[in-house]
């Protein structure tokens, strides 16, 4: 029998791996993908709780999280393209001036 705890533990592991990726990688796009991974871990938590509490509100929240992730993808990638035009790199260690 699969309990709620199985899903929550899986979600915690995925979140930790995403956090690890954000901390150790230096390529901005990979960091961005790790943030998406963390958002997905949270989505899994929402849906698991929604199923086990019999309440659909959590799934609506997942919908909003997905919308925010899509908006973040569009703006973040546009920022990276603008940065790459100036510095020829998207390494986060090169991002040391505020002027684009």
């Amino acid at each position: 029998m699969i309990t709620l705890h199985h899903y929550l533990i899986l979600s915690g592991i995925l979140f930790s791996i995403g956090a690890l990726g954000v901390l150790i990688r230096r390529n901005a796009i990979v960091i961005f993908m790790c943030v998406e991974l963390m958002l997905n871990a949270v989505n899994l938590t929402f849906i698991a709780f929604s199923r086990y509490l019999g309440n659909i509100d959590g799934q609506i929240f997942v919908f909003f999280v997905m919308t925010v992730a899509a908006a973040e993808a569009a703006v973040g990638l546009a920022l990276m393209i603008a940065f790459y035009k100036n510095r020829e790199s998207i390494d986060v260690e090169d991002m040391n001036i505020m002027k684009l």
């Binding site: 029998m1 699969i2 709620l4 705890h5 199985h6 929550l8 533990i9 899986l10 915690g12 592991i13 995925l14 979140f15 930790s16 791996i17 995403g18 956090a19 690890l20 990726g21 901390l23 150790i24 990688r25 230096r26 390529n27 796009i29 990979v30 993908m33 790790c34 998406e36 991974l37 997905n40 989505n43 899994l44 849906i47 698991a48 929604s50 199923r51 509490l53 019999g54 309440n55 659909i56 509100d57 799934q59 609506i60 919908f63 909003f64 997905m66 919308t67 992730a69 899509a70 908006a71 993808a73 569009a74 703006v75 990638l77 546009a78 920022l79 990276m80 393209i81 603008a82 998207i90």
Partner: protein, 168 residues
């Protein structure tokens, strides 16, 4: 019994592919592993009686967002990351990640699940349909957040066009 076996398999694939997202050198490989993770999560959503969310996960995440990311990776023509990782940085990051996991599992152990079970049972989802349940909730209780979301998307469109354009 086969249920838990299937869950373990899917969870193992999800964890393995998310480790690959962190470990791979080439960003394209990272993106492909991330798509694998998204598919595993969609499978878990189906197991949690949420087929509509699984479809949205595949279409929006594995479809739209990942296509955008892969497109940008190819547009920027990045070289593979040089292996200049600092050992102490990686070590500290690993410690932080393990601590995060400990905190999360501590919360799980301490807190029993309280709260009233609601109305959305498996029978109801099978009878009415998941999409209809989502639609009813979204366009009645959550109408205002839904409208605000559309404004967020509009702002994101305007912002990304302004950022990516060479000259306004």
């Amino acid at each position: 019994m086969p249920e838990i076996l299937f869950f373990t398999l899917v969870a193992a694939v999800a964890i393995l592919s998310s480790i690959l997202v962190v470990a791979m050198r080439n960003p394209i490989n990272c993106a492909l592993s991330l798509i694998m993770t998204f598919f595993c999560l969609a499978t878990l959503y189906v197991m949690l009686d949420a087929p509509f969310m699984a479809a949205v996960q595949v279409i929006v995440y594995a479809g739209a967002i990942m296509v955008l990311i892969v497109f940008v990776i190819m547009l920027l023509n990045m070289r593979t990351e040089t292996s200049k990782n600092y050992v102490h940085g990686v070590l500290v990051s690993c410690i932080v990640a393990v601590l995060t996991l400990f905190v999360i599992s501590g919360f799980l152990k301490k807190s029993p699940l309280t709260g009233e079970p609601g109305l959305m049972t498996t029978d109801l989802v099978d009878k009415v349909g998941h999409t209809e349940l989502i639609g009813r909730a979204m366009f009645s209780d959550f109408l205002l957040p839904f409208e605000i979301t559309s404004i967020l998307l509009l702002v994101a469109i305007v912002g990304s066009v302004i950022l990516a354009k060479r000259k306004l």
